[in-house]
C-alpha cells in the first residue's frame, strides 16, 4: 500500500480580512470552510498523514472560537487515524509567550517546537518507515536553521516541514525568521519531500523530473495577490526511494478572480452590471476592471451596489478613458462652454507628461461629463 501525505499551509484562520468590507465575516467563514474541506480531502483520500507548514492561524493569539475550529478539524483527523504534523509560521509564531501553541493543546500528533530540524519523528505506518522533520524558528535558539536538516538514515521516507521563504532573487532582504533558502537548496537535501509554507501560491521544486518540495499556497485567497484556484498537495509514494506522485487538489470555497471588461460599447452602468453578470461566475469573488472609452462615466459605486447581492463582495475599478470616446468627440464640436471645456481638457491631456497628470485630466473630463452630460 502506498504512503499518502496531504500537505497544506497558510490557512490563516481568524484573519480579520477588513479588505473585504462587510463581506469580511463571510470570508472568514469561507477560510474555515476551506480548512474543513482540506480535512475532508485527507479523510476521503485515506491519507496517512497531514502536514501543516505554518500559519494555521492568522495571529499568535487567535480568538477562542477560531482555536476551536482548528481543534475540531484536527480531532477529525485523529479520529480517522490520520497523523497530523505542524510547525508554527510567521503569523502564529511560537516566539511569543502568548503564542496559541504555548497556550493551547491542539490535537496534533506532533507539533514541532524545536529551533532546528534536529529532532525528527520516526514511525511506521502501513509498512512504511517515515521520518518527519520540522522546525519552529526561534530567534534565540535557532542557529543552524536549514543546516541542521540532514537525512538521518537511508531507510524509509523522509519529509521535512518548514515555514520558509524562497530567496528567488539574491537582492531580496529576507529576515532570518523567514528561514530563507535558495531554490536549489531543496535539490541538495537528500529528502523525499519538503512541505513548505509562507508563500501563498502553489509552486513545486524539482530535482530533475522528481518533485522534491512544494509550497501548497493558501487555502483561500485573502487578497488580490491570491487569485485563482487554491490547493492542498497530495503526495503518494509506492515505497521508499520511489518518486512520489504529486497532485495539487483544488480546495477553494470561493475563488478570488480578476477580470477586465471593455465597456466602450455599453450605454450605461446598468449595462455594465449586466455585462459583469454575464461574464463573471457568481461562485467567485471578483475584481473587475472596466476598460474602453464609453460615452458615459461608469459609476463603480452603482455597479457594486447593483452586484453586491449576487457576488457578496465585488470590486469594480474604473480604468476607462473618455478622451477617445465618441461622446467627447461630439462635445468638442460644440461652440459652447461645454465644448470649449472639453477641447481644453483634451489639449491638456495631450500635453500631460506623466501618468498621474493624465489620470488627473481623465478624471477631470469625467467630472465634466458628470456635471454637463
Amino acid at each position: 500500500m502506498s504512503l499518502k501525505v496531504l500537505h497544506l499551509a497558510d490557512v490563516h484562520l481568524g484573519a480579520r480580512l477588513s479588505n473585504f468590507g462587510r463581506y469580511a465575516e463571510q470570508r472568514r467563514q469561507e477560510i474555515e470552510g476551506a480548512f474543513r474541506r482540506a480535512m475532508d480531502v485527507a479523510i476521503q483520500r485515506d491519507v496517512h498523514l497531514v502536514v501543516i507548514a505554518g500559519d494555521l492561524f492568522d495571529s499568535r493569539n487567535p480568538e477562542r472560537e477560531t482555536v476551536n475550529v482548528a481543534r475540531g478539524q484536527l480531532a477529525r483527523l485523529r479520529e480517522a487515524g490520520i497523523r497530523s504534523f505542524g510547525v508554527p509560521g510567521t503569523h502564529d509564531s511560537l516566539a511569543f509567550a502568548d503564542s496559541v501553541y504555548r497556550r493551547e493543546n491542539l490535537p496534533f500528533d506532533h507539533f514541532f517546537t524545536g529551533p532546528d530540524f534536529a529532532d525528527p519523528v520516526e514511525f511506521e505506518v502501513d509498512g512504511h518507515s517515515v521520518t518527519v522533520y520540522g522546525i519552529a524558528y526561534d530567534r534565540e535558539q535557532t542557529t543552524d536553521g536549514w543546516r541542521s536538516l540532514a537525512r538521518r538514515h537511508t531507510e524509509g521516507i523522509h519529509i521535512a516541514i518548514a515555514h520558509a521563504a524562497c530567496q528567488d532573487h539574491p537582492g531580496w532582504s529576507i529576515p532570518a525568521d523567514d528561514l530563507p533558502f535558495a531554490p536549489d537548496d531543496l535539490q541538495r537535501l537528500a529528502l523525499d519531500y519538503v512541505a513548505l509554507g509562507h508563500y501563498h501560491n502553489l509552486r513545486f521544486f524539482h530535482r530533475g523530473e522528481r518533485v522534491v518540495g512544494a509550497y501548497s499556497g493558501s487555502v483561500t485567497g485573502r487578497n488580490w495577490k491570491e487569485t485563482g484556484k487554491r490547493h492542498v498537495v497530495l503526495i503518494e509514494w509506492e515505497g521508499a526511494g520511489s518518486p512520489p506522485a504529486v497532485t495539487a487538489v483544488p480546495i477553494q470555497v470561493r475563488l478570488l478572480e480578476t477580470g477586465e471588461i471593455d465597456v466602450g460599447d455599453l450605454p450605461d452602468s446598468v449595462a455594465i452590471a449586466d455585462a459583469i453578470r454575464g461574464a463573471c461566475e457568481s461562485s467567485s469573488i471578483w475584481r473587475v476592471t472596466l476598460t474602453g472609452d464609453p460615452d458615459f462615466v461608469p459609476s463603480a459605486e452603482a455597479i457594486v451596489a447593483d452586484l453586491e447581492a449576487r457576488y457578496g463582495y465585488i470590486e469594480v475599478h474604473d480604468a476607462t478613458t473618455l478622451v477617445t470616446s465618441r461622446l467627447l468627440a461630439e462635445r468638442r464640436e460644440e461652440e459652447t462652454v461645454r465644448g470649449e471645456f472639453f477641447r481644453r481638457l483634451v489639449d491638456a491631456r495631450e500635453r500631460a507628461d506623466d501618468e498621474r497628470s493624465r489620470a488627473v485630466v481623465d478624471r477631470a473630463i469625467k467630472l465634466g461629463v458628470e456635471v454637463f452630460g
Binding site: 479588505n19 459652447t336 462652454v337 461645454r338 471645456f341 477631470a364 469625467k366 467630472l367
Partner: protein
Amino acid sequence: MTDRLDLRLVRLRVDGFGRLRDFSFQPASDPGTIVLAPNEAGKSTLASAIVRGLFGFRDKEREAARSPWGGGSFQVHQEWVLGGRTRCVIARDFATQSVVVEWHQLDETTGQISIEGRWEGQPNPRGRSVDRERYEAELRRLLGFATPEVFLQTAYVGPGGLAVRPIETELLRLLSGSERADFRAAMETLEAGYYRLTQADITDPSRVAKQKPRQLETLATDRRDTLRRQTDSQSEQVARDRLETALAANRSRLAEVDVEREARVVVEKSIRRLRELQQEEERFQRRREELEQAIGRITDWESSVREKTKELQPLVGYLRQEADFATQLGELRRLAKERDRALEELGVVRGGAEPRGRQLKFLGAAGGAILVVGVVGILAGGSVGLFGAVAVGGLLVLSAFGWSVRYQRAKAQGVEASQRSIKTRAARFEARRRAMAEAASLDPDAIDIDVERRRYDRAQQLKSELDGMQQARDALGDYQALERERREIGEKKLDVLRLERRQILEEYPFLDGDEEFEHRFAARQQQLEVEQNQLVEQELEHRRKLADLPLAPDDPRELEARVQELNEATERLAIERDAHRLAYTTLAACRDEFVTIMTERLEGRIGELFGELTDGRYRGVMRDPRSCEVTVEGVEKVEVPAASLSRGARDQLYFAMRVAVVEVMAADRALPLILDDPFLHFDDRRLARVERMLERVGATHQIILLTHDARLSDWSFPCTRLPAPAAPSDEELSAD
C-alpha cells in the same frame, strides 16, 4: 457670417413616424414655410422627424415612442440644399437603422442634376461602428457638425423654457450647451466636490474650514495614526529584538565561559605544548644564529680572498720566478752598472779624440791660407820676398799639418780599438741583462730593482696568505648545506612552531604575554568566574525587561498593508481633488475667455433683434458678468431687469436670443430655424414685428414655423396645414 453656407430643407417625406404617415412636406426656401396645425396634430412630431431623420435616436425607448402608430414603415426622407448647388438626400429607416445618403450637384448652366456620391450603411446611433463614423462624416459635410445637441441648441427653437426658467438661465444654458447644468452650476458642483474632499476653497486652497471633517484630512489622520501605531509597534519590536539579541549574546557568552572554565585540562595541555614550542623555538633560534655566524664567516673569507686575489692579480707573474729571483735581480743590477761603466769609459775615449781633430783642421786651413796669400802676393807683383816668405811659411804650416795628421790617425786607430772593446763589453752586459729581465718577465729599461724586489716579496706573501686561508675555508664546511639548513629553520620549522603557538594563543588569548602561562591561566580562571557571575545577573535583568515589555498590540505586517491601502486611497483622493480643481479652473478659464467673447457677440445681436421685435422700445441687452442677470436698456436708457419684463416681452427677448444664437453660435452653416410655437404669448402687435423680422431673417436662414396660431396664416409665408388629430397626445420634442 457672409462665409456661411446656406442650408435649407427642401423636401421632407415621412413614411411613418409617430402619428405622421405618408406625409410629404416641401418647405419654401426663402423665407420659409409656416406649418399650421391644431394642437396634437403632429407639429412637434414633424420637428422631431426632421431632427431624428438626421441624427436617429440614442435612446431606444424614445425611438419606440416615435414608432408609427399602427405599425408599418418607420422611415423619414429629407432633401437638403447646401450652398444653392449641392443637394443632399438622406433616407433613414429606423426599423433597420439603415441610412442612405445621396449627394447631387446642380449644373447651373444646364440646369441638370448629377449624382456626385452615394453612401449607404447602418449608422446606429446607439452603438459604435464604422458606418456610424462614416455617416457622421456625411453629416459634417452637410451641417458642419454631427451631433443632435448642436442642432437643438441652434436650429431648433421650442416653445421656450421661460415658463419655468428665467431668461438668464436660458442664456446660460445656451452658452453652456448642456440641459443638465449651465457652467455656473457646473462650477458650483465642482467647488462643492472639492470642498467635500478638502474642506478648502477651490479658488484659494489655503483657506480651509476648521474643525470639519474632510475626506482627505480624515484619510491623512488615519494614515498618521496608522503610521504612529506602526512606529510604536516597530519600536516595541525593535526594543524586543534588541533585548532578545542582547539576551542571546549573553547566553552565548555564558556558554563560552562555561566551556572555557570546563576546559582546564585542555588548557593545561596547551600550556605544556606552548612551553615545548617555546623551547623548540629557542633551540632553532640558537642553531640558526650559529649557522648565520658560520655563513657570515664564509662570506667574510670570500671577501678577503676576493681582495687578496685582486691584489695578487698584477703580481701573479712574480710567482712564476725561480727562487734565485733576488740574486738575479742583483746580477742585473751589477750588469747594468758594468754596462754603464763601459759606456762611460767609451765616452771618455771619444771625448779626448774630437778636440785634436778640430785643431788639425784649423792648422791645415791656416797653412793653406798663408800659402795662398804668399802666392797671390807674388803673383800680384808684391814683394817676392815677403810674399815668398809668407808662402814658405804657409808651406811649413802645411807640413806640420801633414805630420800632425798622420800622428793623429795612428792615435785614433788605437782609440777605436779601445772603443770597440768597450762597446763589446757593454753590449755583452746588456744582452745578458736583457736575457735575465726577459726570463723574469721584466722590462729591463723600466725596471726598478728595489720595487721589483718588493713586489716579488709581496706576491710571495699573498700567495702564502691565500694558501693559509684556503686551509681555513676548508674548515668552515659546505656553504650550501649551511644555507639550506638556515633557510629550513627560518622558513619552515620556526613558522610551524609559531603557527601552532599562534593557534593556541588565539584559542586562549589570555596566555599571551610575558608572564608565566600558569599565572595567566589562573588569572583568567578568576576573571571568567567574575564574568560568569556578571552574565548571570545580566541575563536575569534582560529577562525581567523582556517580561516587562508590552506585547506589540498590532501586527506590523498588517499595519504595513494598512498604510499601503491608505496611501493608495490618499492618492486616489488626491487625484480626485486635483481633477476637481483642474476641471474648475478650466471651466473658469472658459468662463473668462470663451463666455466673455460669446456673450459680447450675443448681447449685441440680441439687443438688435430685441429692439427690432419691440419696435425700438428696447435697444440693448446686457448681462452682468457676476450675477449673470440680464437687463435690457429702454429708450430712455433705463435699465430694466429681464425678470421685470412682461411675459410677452420676455418671450420676445427669448426669441431674439435664439435667433442670435443660431446666427452667432452655429459653426459655419446658415442653419434653418425650426420654430415650434415660440410665439404663444405674443399679441398681434408683437406678431407683426416678429413677421417682419422673420421675413428679414429668412433671407439668410430658412424659417420652418410650426404653430397652431391661426393668426399666422395671414403672414406672407407659404402655409401648410396638418390635419386635425385623431389620436391621443403627442410627445413634446423636448422629450427627445
